[in-house]
């Protein structure tokens, strides 16, 4: 199984220290789900991933990274 990491925490910081709640409201998810995504405990759907990338104005691959596991 591969692992998905992300740059959401850094991007939130670079976008005026956006809170998890603010991001959650923009992408129609709960704050707990945004937190779980940030910590890598939950992999979002493709649609949610695109919405997150769109909020930061970044391409998907700049926000999410996939690496093959052992």
């Amino acid at each position: 199984m591969g692992t998905i990491s992300n740059e959401i925490r850094r991007l939130r910081f670079e976008h005026g220290e956006m809170t998890q709640q603010e991001l959650a409201e923009k992408i129609h998810l709960t704050r707990q789900t945004v937190n779980a995504i940030e910590l890598g405990k939950y992999s979002p759907s493709l649609e949610a991933a695109f919405r997150i990338a769109a909020v930061f104005g970044e391409p998907l691959e700049s926000v999410f990274h996939y690496s093959e596991g052992r």
Binding site: H28, L29, T30, Q32, T33, N35, A36, L39, K41, Y42, P44, S45, A48
Partner: protein, 137 residues
């Protein structure tokens, strides 16, 4: 703790407590009475509805924003996983109940055995939801 997780705790604790009291009362008096505890079951269902409604309203008042928000994709996934887990347990338990039903037990046993497996399945479902919310997945 999120609103959804609190709701799951309310379901788990209220179902466990109220049905434990119901089955305890059936074991101590129902078997001797020889009838199905219709009034007792009705009281149990009403008590469960009242307790869950009051506690859920209390939690919703403390976090109105979360309570109004619809379930998101993670909530739905957690619910689906929990339901799948509980369904497997329910199917196995019903099969066991049917097996013992072949020995012609008293009606009170069969009825309450089926009710018992339904309650256990619901407890497993909410328990599974809580575990997933705790893990963050």
């Amino acid at each position: 703790m999120s609103y959804r997780e609190k709701s799951a705790w309310i379901s788990l604790l209220s179902i466990s407590g109220i049905y434990a009291f119901y089955f305890w009362s059936v074991l101590h008096s129902g078997a001797r009475a020889g009838g199905v505890h219709v009034s007792g079951l009705l009281e149990t269902i009403i008590a469960l509805a009242v307790v869950q409604t009051v506690l859920t309203i209390g939690v919703a008042i403390s976090a109105p924003r979360e309570a109004k928000a619809p379930r998101d994709e993670r909530d739905r996934l957690i619910d689906l996983r929990a339901t799948r887990f509980a369904y497997a347990a329910l199917a196995g338990s019903v099969a066991c109940a049917c097996f013992f039903g072949a020995f012609n037990p008293p009606i009170i046993f069969s009825t309450n055995a089926l009710l018992f497996v339904l309650v256990i399945a619901e407890i497993l479902r909410t328990g599974c939801q809580i575990v997933q919310y705790r893990r963050g997945a």
